[in-house]
Symmetry: D3
Subunit: 143 residues, 6 copies
């Protein structure tokens, strides 16, 4: 097994806001992240696929195809968007980096087999800033 990664990026606005709470409670819990007029980030997304290299190509997965898949299925839906308002798969969910990484996993995991005979999605790593980031390995697995 070898682990192959591709980094992509997108720029988006969001706020952290629980609609079941009062405005005051949201500000108390989320601080400036609850700003009602939004704020935003340059997100960096690292997608890792694990598998055996194909003997014909030396590839677990063609990173060009992986990049095209990630852009079509994820980046085009997130880039220059508002995570709370514009993104169907984030509807009625908290727009935290944790939840966003889990939702990106759910989108990409079943589609990796389209582009790789040998590889499976291993992890989604999502940087909200260079200082704050999360990693998700799917429901069943640990790193």
């Amino acid at each position: 097994m070898i682990y192959v990664s591709r980094k992509e990026h997108f720029n988006a606005a969001h706020k952290l806001y629980n609609p079941q709470w009062s405005k005051e409670k949201n500000v108390e819990v989320f601080g400036p992240c609850a700003n009602e007029n939004w704020h935003g980030h340059n997100f960096e997304l690292i997608t890792t696929v694990a598998g055996m290299p194909d003997p014909d190509t030396g590839f677990v997965v063609d990173l060009k195809k992986l990049s095209i898949l990630i852009r079509a299925e994820v980046i085009d839906k997130l880039d220059h968007k508002n995570l709370n308002l514009d993104v169907d798969f984030m509807k009625d969910k908290m727009a935290s980096t944790e939840i966003l990484a889990i939702e990106i996993w759910k989108i990409l995991e079943p589609k990796i087999s389209r582009i790789s005979k040998f590889g499976k999605l291993y992890s989604i790593k999502l940087y909200e800033t260079p200082r704050n980031f999360v990693e998700y390995f799917g429901e069943a697995s640990n790193p």
Copy 2:
């Protein structure tokens, strides 16, 4: 003369939108940057002060004081904010990186003398993303 720089960061939402144009024209000119529900960035701000070092300290400017000044006068007004809606000094201006850098210069330039006997503001460099950035040296001067 020696040039001393401090890097700070802030996260903000914005859109590029000229209110004198139709929505269609804005989308035509600004593309996804005109998304009406906003998008955002992790901005990096580099402030450079030029001068002779103070013989008592070896400093052109105490970078701790420069950091406190930049945070109080600039970062606190921009971080976790919407550049179009929440920032008084950006009111009725295009929320481009160019205009934002010029406005930050106008705020900081007259205040450097408060914290430095020997230094003057030399440039404001502002990264919207690691790939897109601007630098401003004031009205009268070139680099």
Copy 3:
């Protein structure tokens, strides 16, 4: 389970020196790292907490609270300090990056429950330079 990380930094002096050895033996083993007048680094510290996201916030742990905890318990004791002379929890220990990472784990591990219902400390990653770094996952666990 999702893994959430926060990066902090501190600047410190240290030397690598085994007091049970002669000066010559120390120089032989540690080379310039044994310089008796010290040297130093900009350390980068990445703390990772693992857990389920809280359904109310979407957070495994509030990264603002995690940052405050790390600064109070670790950074304030290390930043602008001498690791061999000024740091109580490094007393009589080798000031290597390995040992420092293990001691930071011991400090933070029991305190994560104060700020997170769902998360546990997963790893401490410590960069001495961009080229030399260590990671520790606790006594009982592997990555």
Copy 4:
């Protein structure tokens, strides 16, 4: 157990080309990476060794010795070279990042015991670009 890493770099040319295929098939599969006149990269190589710290030094492995070993056994054979033409251990292999990482593992794994009583090779992480990278943990182990 603690995991200790060293980053090195090398610059090399290569192409992706399966000699059992026609030129057209190679271009179809590998696109511009099959350019017959080669292209190249600044590779970054991160070698991670896992073990218990030596009580006398606080080290799992002396990173100076690890650096010298990696340079002698790997970097000197790859830096400013053509991966397809100049590198004996890549002869008749696909010059993909995956295969190169596996071959570097095979070279370094048996040699770590020369420089470390307590450590074993844990992983080889190889960046072809800042956006494309692979990691290998050996045949028997997962991360």
Copy 5:
């Protein structure tokens, strides 16, 4: 005047080789950079345009248009190519970073007016590696 920059990248092979010298003299002068089977780099190219912001857009130059121009005129001719063999504008020239930056300037300088009413090309900065880079400001001008 404000200075606006866009960063792009390309991967290429090259060697440093003066055809008027013997092979021995080339190796003596250029060392491993003269390897006859080539080596390569991930180049980073920063293009800076200077001018006044357009009052309608807040832009000196639309960075999307600048990116498209750089890709069409420069990146597409260099990426996944051999600088000595595949690039018409480098024919019979030394494939040094200095010469490449000057040639990129010559290509882009007359074309900036196509995409910007107010801006002129100010500099071409070219990173061969993160440690080795050059900057060119045109024949007539200094920084």
Copy 6:
């Protein structure tokens, strides 16, 4: 004219301390930077040489020779050292980044002609941290 740069690094300890002041005054002015037991940094040093490329090599300066010169004349005197105690050219000077950059300029400026027919030292840029840095262009010149 073209501007050619080389980045090197060194790790050093220092403190900011004016011996003509009381200990209290030093702490008041320099804060934790005056810690009597020192602190330290990973410094990054960028040396820029300006000139015309040599037609035989395409080089303003051979960056391998520039690197060897910087290491012999500067890095070897600073790396794994204490800037206040171990460095002859910093004796009786404030160990600020500003003063250190000026002293490095004085050392390197007269020696560039040894390795380059066409180039002159243009600037010394010195990063104390990724957030705090200075640049010096010599007594007579501005950028």
